[in-house]
Amino acid sequence: MSLPTSPFAPSASLPGTGQLVLCLLPPGKQVLQKFTYQYPLKLIAPDPHHASDDKHVTIAFLLTYGGGLVGGDQISLKVELQDATRLVLLTQGSTKIFKSPNRSVVSRQILDVQVGPRAALCYLPDPTQPFAESVYEQRQTFYVDPNGSSNLLVLDWVSEGRRARGESWTLWSWNGRNEVREMDERSRGRLLLRDAVMLHDDELAGVSLLDKADNMGVFGTLIVYGSIFKHLADFLVQEFSNQPRIGAKNWAANDSTTQSENAKEVELSRQREQQDGLLWTAATVRGFVLVKFGATELDGARRWLGGLLRKEGTVEKMFGHQALLCLR
């Protein structure tokens, strides 16, 4: 007689790893089939709420002890959204990247997300905040349905550090890479989109990181993909092309009496953008809309992006107002 196999699976958990599997039970209840995490990673998921179209939405907060990564911390989270589920991933405050003892000690955050057919991920976290002499690497890969029915809204942004302490891009290294690939059992899947930013302090020809930043205190990328976000994507492209031309004379500004309320509001938000030193672009790339932005202050960028997403309304409608928690 053979021994009965242990009912307990062998422990495969490593420090900093986590797994989250979201599935849909009939008739329409979303449950977390798997929800595990190990120090220094922590996940919190309140009960799912209903979006305005009566679908379930699950929220998960990605937390780390101490609100950030201490030199050498490694975090690796795997997320799976099964068919037709909706997930909001959030953080509670910026992810601080603390000082490394030396350049070879890398703090790393790896996120692998599988977005199933008709599933939707809304990932609008706070920015990472690399402190002076920090070394950080971030790899985020999103696997989507090859038939194009997955939906993605991903924000990735980084700020200059602790400005109050005089830190402005004094980090040692910050590497961020976001990839969207086709889901494929056998290979890594065809690459659909890659967005990679590398900030290093190694000067070449006397150009420091501060010079490269050109007065910007925050940089970010917003990736928009899928039919749920179609309206948002069109809206962003439209807003971008409606911006005033650079170098053109603004005739409307002097003529305030004839302006409607709407036009005044537009004018006001433009003035605010100018004060915040906000620069942004939107481009349709291979079925995605990719927004890149930079601003002198974090608050300016937060206000601008939150304002845009609220004005358009898809995110609040499909995921609830909680989805914009990090953009207040």
């Binding site: 065809r190 890659r194 020809a205 940089f219 031309r245 170098g247 620069l279």
Partner: protein, 301 residues
Amino acid sequence: MDARDAETLRGRILDLETQLQTTKALLRRIEGSKLGSQVIGSTPFTAQVSLPLGPSTHNLMLLSDSALPLGSFAYSNGLESFLAHHKPIQSGQPQLSLFHKFLKLSLQSVAYTTVPYAVAAFRDPLDLMDLDNDLDASTPCNVARRASIAQGRALLSVWEKAFAAPAKAHRLEDSEAAAAIEVFARDLKIGVLSSDPLKVNGHLAPLWGVVCLALGLNLEESGYLFLLNHAKAVLSAAVRASVMGPYMAQTILAGHDLQDLIRHSLERVWFLQPEDAGQVVPTLDLWVGRHEMLYSRIFNS
């Protein structure tokens, strides 16, 4: 000395004079025959003139020529937009120093974002298709994408129309590279008809690597030339945008600063895999992307 001695000396002079005459006559005869032989061209004594310049050097010169019909002059690679975003120019920061900053940023950015693709394509031309797809996926804005594709396709037609036949005739070409380009060109033409949204694109960097390989250049030359051509395009745009005159531009091109910058940039990205390539100057993406917002423009990027 007496009269007898004088007689001897006179005889000696006569002797020497006869010898001189004979030698001169001999020389004249030899020189005369040599002149004649040069006209006919069949003497084994003429020295061979050797030029240590092979066909690969010839091709290197062709690829570095600003008359190579890639249309690079139409793209400022973000310079025009950069200058527009820094108006009005503050006093104490003349346009020239702004330009120097831009050139440094632009070269580093290109080195980290696209050179790895050119180098990888040179190392393995069979990867051309994948590299083209991955570079397309990694190009974040339409303006840069348009510029890269237009120049890449132009390079492909120059290869097909001008380089392919002589390369084949000289058996100079790396046959694997030439075959890779041929397949790629065919797929590009078929792709126009297909409905797949992710078609073959024809970006410049990977094609550059393979064409250089097919034309017998070595890897170092190909990488260096790619960055040098980029610097030349930015400088020619600066001249056209009246940032500086042509002599100033040539001074910068000839200067050691530029050479060092190209060399050091190349050294840093030499072993960088394409999948680890990325933007090191995030502001550049913003400037290039916002080129479309300029009220008036003279360049395509």
